[in-house]
């Protein structure tokens, strides 16, 4: 059962991830990205990471994608015209990506744990959010505060960047 679900959601994620880079229309790319992230959130939930799955849907499919679509529509991007593709650079890009994937595949093949399946959890109903929260506000309190400052800096930076006349 979990095997079927795993391949369904991975296929959903990978097919729409491919559609992101194949589509010529930026709006279609952004909507494919939403579906791809949704498949990824389902994979997180299959891995019993409920909190991360929900955060993935809320932050990515909610906030980030709205931002992307808003910018695409603000810039009023049309379907981009076909340009002459530089064949050498295209072949170079494809071969670098394929070489990267081949290397990654070899590394995964040599990993001893890669053939083992996931061990069962101690109890089927773990209170996921509570455990993540305890760790985040306990062990990782300082990084959490720093992240807060980072988000504040990003907000101010965006406001400064989007002003018409920079002084």
């Amino acid at each position: 059962m979990s095997l079927v679900l795993f391949w369904c959601f991975s296929l959903l994620m990978l097919v729409f991830g491919g559609a992101v880079i194949v589509n010529r229309n930026p709006v279609a790319s952004a909507l494919s990205l939403v579906v791809s992230f949704f498949g990824l959130a389902c994979l997180f939930i299959l891995l019993d990471a409920y909190f991360i799955g929900i955060i993935q849907v809320l932050v990515y499919a909610g906030a980030v994608m709205v931002l992307f679509l808003f910018i695409i529509m603000l810039l009023d991007l049309r379907r981009e015209e076909r340009r002459k593709i530089n064949l050498i650079s295209f072949a170079g890009g494809v071969s670098v990506a394929l070489a990267f994937f081949a290397q990654l595949y070899l590394v995964i093949g040599h990993l001893g744990d890669a053939r083992k399946s996931f061990p069962p959890l101690g109890s089927p109903h773990s209170d996921d959010v509570r455990n993540v929260g305890l760790l985040m506000f306990g062990n990782y309190n300082l990084p959490f505060q720093i992240i807060g400052v980072l988000v504040l800096v990003a907000t101010i930076g965006v406001i400064v960047l989007s002003k018409r006349d920079l002084r």
């Binding site: 992101v20 891995l47 990471a49 595949y105 990003a154």
Partner: protein, 106 residues
């Protein structure tokens, strides 16, 4: 049964798709989306390892999930700043094609 290698394989495939997008596309917004795909591929392998390394008390290793939470937060901040830069760039140059943005090219 689903093995750890399956998840790492899918995560590597997603990373490769994002990598190919960064290398092949000329539209700067699509390049930005491909960067997001790569970040998410890394998140997937982190969560898979978190589920694989069961603690002695039978719980997943939550340190990895906290790390993923931080990555998602930083990525969201990065998207906001990056898109603001793209808007400023578009105002100055009226283009989002990376082949037309060659001021810094030697």
């Amino acid at each position: 049964m689903v093995t750890l290698g399956d998840y790492l394989f899918v995560s590597g495939l997603l990373f490769t798709i994002g990598f190919a997008g960064v290398l092949l596309r000329r539209n700067i917004i699509i390049i930005f989306m491909s960067l997001e795909l790569m970040l998410n591929a890394a998140n997937l392998s982190l969560v898979a390892f978190s589920r694989f390394r069961i603690q002695p008390d039978g719980l997943p290793n939550y340190h990895a999930q906290v790390f993923v939470f931080f990555i998602i937060t930083v990525a969201a901040a990065e998207v906001a700043v990056g898109l603001a830069i793209i808007v400023a760039l578009f105002r100055a140059r009226r283009t989002i094609n990376v082949e037309d943005i060659t001021t810094l090219k030697f």
